[in-house]
Symmetry: C2
Subunit: 597 residues, 2 copies
């Protein structure tokens, strides 16, 4: 397992990521992905798109990152998207009040759930000091601090706007249009990959808690009464679950099971959530997460948003801590109902019945020329009261007179004047509010997990080597091509031809002719390049057809094979259709010290 | 040519893009890319990455969109990134003051260049009224309005931050690290694709002037004294240029020439800018811009940023207007020098000489034990003055005494005390500030150009048809597959197999079984799908091998070919290795009315 510092150092030195604006002293919570990191991140996003958009048949959209205040009034972020802030009067440093409590008080794990007042009390009770300067925090107020970055749209007075705290709102708010593109048919899913923002009080742990990050989210819209996920596709997928019951139990532990069994035994409540856990499990394995350092943990009751019926996190183990790298929530109709209430648009789907349904409906058709003179200004209310009564209690119209209550008064009406009848009405369908199932992935945290889980060290030729064991699909570069020396035209010619033919086969190639071969191998090992091809004089001067060496990153072993075979063999290796050991059987190892010195 | 309204309607109806937050009344200047538009935009970005990052061998990075104030103090955006604002006191509407002048006064084309005071005068002189409510604007002040979206980073007092107005600053500010990844060697290029923000006073013209948009930028760092672009690669590329001299001339016009000639004849001043115009010309052609509605226009002197030695825009004609879709600027050392001045880091490259250079250097080594007693507190200044004098005027040390001026006083020193000598020093290189050449592309404007230039109408089967003639590389979908009817298991089976085999070949496929075939064709025509495959009974029931029809979008003609040949033929068609007419020759047309009714 990598020390976090070693990995952060490698990440900076090799261009995976580094704290932004270093020349200006750095800006806490902001990271820049360098060339290797941007490529790795882009490949992770492509793999996500391939699974969650293309293969699942969903639509991807791209919405702006700045959104107007009205959206967040409806979503609840304006009121509730807060963290607890305590500022030190002495040094001016800001702290997460709940984290101070959790760090200081042994048996409190989720101080946020206690509320502001209780946390303020606890700080006083435990006489907590500022972690930065040591000053007493007992008299400082604890406040809710909204985590959205605020800005102003347009000149002058403008209108308040916010950097979106999640990509999801850009999908929810456009539901009235998106349902048209789906031709009004449930279920359908919409995805988005893009930046999201949280103005964290105290960013920490490298790129784990940052202020600007990339989310990949899928909003799956379903008819809760009819739509079932294609659970058969993932029934046999094996998962490690950490249900709430086990977390609460004295001697609780993990449940190793399959998605199918977890649904059958109701460990996972929602089949839709279970389906996406299965899809995610396979996807994480595909991109290279170490599945021995991975689990799905159910939210405890207190953790869960009030509207979420069930919620599970994908968690990976990073430097000894479990961190959330994705969330899977059954959000019910919360989001669409809220936007329906706050906006002027319809956030429903018209659900057509298989056959039109005939319903009996009690109606009145009051004779207003009689009600008017009798009840004056109250006549309209009385008519409304009669309709309501007809629906609630049709029997009331069986006598000669009927009495309605409205505006605190009783009115008695001749049943004949009410014109009561039971009519048959034909309805072709109804407007329903779809439910939402949301798999939400943190891209940066996935990237970081891949780096930590891929980071390895071993001994090669008596020297300690560190390398990143990244899957070819996500590795920044697939293949590096080296001419052994940089002053031999024939070598360079062959090396350039090999590069070209690999690139034509759609393989990403780094060409490097500087430094010793050992140095070049180490550079590629550290950025996770799965294969290196070295062109040397021995191979070109041999009696038979010209050969080059092909080196595998993880085993650091080499084989010698004909130049002509390189592109085809690498295509097969990278696609996973062939293993390096197959090639070793066919071509045989070569002495490593030929080229690693 | 498309009417703009028609295209905007199609863009919304078919899911290319639409104004964001429509449910909340809309937010001016913000657009959401729907499923078709997000796919088209993503494909344009991939094509850009392929050309400007991969093929040119540059590095891509991804920096945050929020940056701290210090960056924009250095870049000049905090002071100078303004538009002229005039607010109507009557209705409160904000207007671009310079645009009001340009619209009202016939011979003023660039009112911004006149300055705030002059524009205020002109509004009074011409008695301009508010375009919204008609109220008099003569007494309203004109102000500079900064176009950056401002926010606050961190809680409490926080620190001011801004949404980046261009992706470029995220590259410039990290130059000290990026040069390490380039191993300190010029030239090297760094690219970035991502959101940028301008808080426009009055957004207009659909997605042309928006407040949040995507840029694709390349910062090419060069040694101005040594690095030459590989001009040979683009020497013969034909371009339509509109140089400043022609724009200023009475009867000026376009210059149709080649990149090579334009450099030879000094129409384009910088070979680097010329090189990128050539690369861009070919790229725009590749993605499907109509090159008859495309030109490169040189900036006029007044338009150009003061630091830009030369600047050209790529412009496309949209609904009768020429709009900027990319800019190509020779920025000199402006950006790196500024960040070097404002920050604590070094924004230079150490340029090693081919051979160490020996220089003669006049130095002093004053005897401080003599200067101290004589000059007291001024001794250090006197020593410094002696060194400066030695460098400027070594002859001054030839006599017995030497006089230096410092702090307004004269000091006379014995030459012996100064210890003057001329030493030989060996220097292995020098620190230079690289120059920057910047091709900067607007992705949304490119997308919009492709839609407008691709939008066509014709008559098919006696009906008017509209279609988007998008290149396969950027079209949201490559191929649509239709079973002729949706209740025939054999048809559906074959259609699903065809879809699968195409997807395995890496082709993006839409499967559609709803509505008449004519409707399905029209739907695909309107989203620009190049080819449709229809599986019908006739084809499966024929005596020979089973066949399907393949329809080309632009000609709306069909051929019938064996199911087995579909994937291979489509691969060749999409790769541009075969034309539809080749297939027509081989397989023959089929009657169109078989399936279009």
């Amino acid at each position: 397992m990598a020390e976090q510092n070693e990995l952060m150092e490698l990440a900076k030195r090799r261009g995976f990521f580094f704290g932004s604006n270093g020349a200006y002293g750095g800006t806490a919570g902001f990271y820049t992905f360098g060339p290797e990191g941007a490529s790795l991140k882009h490949n992770v996003e492509s793999a996500w798109r391939d699974q969650f958009t293309v293969r699942l048949g969903n639509d991807e959209i791209e919405a702006p990152t700045i959104m107007p205040e009205a959206v967040f009034e409806a979503s609840g972020h304006l009121d509730g998207f807060d963290d607890m802030l305590v500022e030190c009067a002495e040094c001016g440093e800001s702290h997460r009040a709940d984290h101070l409590i959790e760090d200081a008080v042994a048996d409190i794990e989720d101080a946020e759930a206690l509320g502001v007042d209780k946390v303020e009390d606890l700080i006083r009770e435990h006489d907590l000091a500022c972690p930065t300067c040591g000053a007493d925090l007992a008299d400082e107020p604890v406040e809710d601090f909204n985590l959205m970055f605020e800005t102003s749209i347009g000149p002058g007075s403008g209108q308040p706007g916010y950097m979106r705290p999640e990509t999801a709102q850009g999908i929810f708010v456009e539901f009235p249009r998106l349902k048209e593109y789906a031709r009004g048919q449930l279920p359908f899913g919409v995805t988005q990959i893009g930046p999201a923002y949280r103005n964290e009080i105290s960013p920490r742990r490298g790129i784990i808690r940052v202020r600007e990050f990339t989310q990949a989210e899928l909003e799956q819209f379903i008819d809760p009464d009819e739509d079932e996920p294609p659970l058969g596709e993932v029934r046999d997928v094996e998962v490690t679950l950490y249900p709430a019951t086990e977390q609460n139990a004295e001697d609780g532990g993990y449940v190793d099971t399959t998605i199918g069994e977890a649904v059958d035994e109701e460990i996972i409540g929602s089949p839709w959530v279970a389906y996406y856990l299965g899809i995610a499990q396979e996807w994480y394995e595909r991109v290279g997460v170490d599945m021995d350092r991975f689990r799905f943990r159910q939210h405890l009751t207190g953790e869960r948003a009030h509207y979420a019926a069930d919620c599970w996190d994908a968690e990976s183990e990073i430097s000894g801590n479990w961190i959330e790298i994705a969330g899977f929530a059954y959000r019910g109709d919360y989001d669409l109902t809220k936007h329906g209430e706050y906006s002027e648009d319809r956030f429903t789907i018209f659900k057509r019945y298989d056959e039109p349904v005939t319903v009996e409906k009690a109606v009145v058709d009051p004779d207003m020329s009689a009600l008017g003179p009798e009840f004056g200004g109250a006549a309209a209310d009385v008519a409304e009261g009669l309709q309501a009564l007809a629906e609630d209690d049709p029997d009331a119209f069986e006598g000669d007179e009927v009495t309605v209550e409205t505006g605190g008064e009783s009115y008695t009406v001749d049943t004949e004047v009410a014109n009561f009848s039971v009519e048959e009405q034909t309805e072709s369908g109804e407007h329903i509010t779809p439910h939402v199932v949301e798999p939400s992935f943190g891209v940066g945290r996935t990237v970081y997990t891949l780096l930590e889980h891929g980071y390895s060290t071993d001994e090669v030729d008596g020297e300690t080597r560190s390398y990143l064991s990244l899957k070819p699909e996500v590795a920044p570069t697939n293949v590096a091509v080296f001419p052994l020396v940089s002053n031999d035209d024939q070598l360079i010619d062959v090396a350039e031809n090999v590069s070209r033919s690999l690139r034509q086969a759609g393989i990403s190639v780094t060409y490097d002719d500087s430094g010793s071969i050992g140095r070049r191998y180490r550079r590629q090992d550290e950025v996770g390049t799965p294969f290196c091809v070295t062109v040397d004089q021995d191979g070109l001067e041999s009696d038979g057809e010209p050969t080059v060496t092909l080196r595998e990153r993880d085993s650091a072993t080499q084989i010698r094979l004909p130049v002509e075979a390189v592109a085809e063999e690498l295509e097969a290796l990278l696609a996973g259709n062939r293993g390096f050991s197959d090639l070793r059987d066919r071509y045989g190892n070569v002495e490593t010290d030929v080229t690693t010195t």
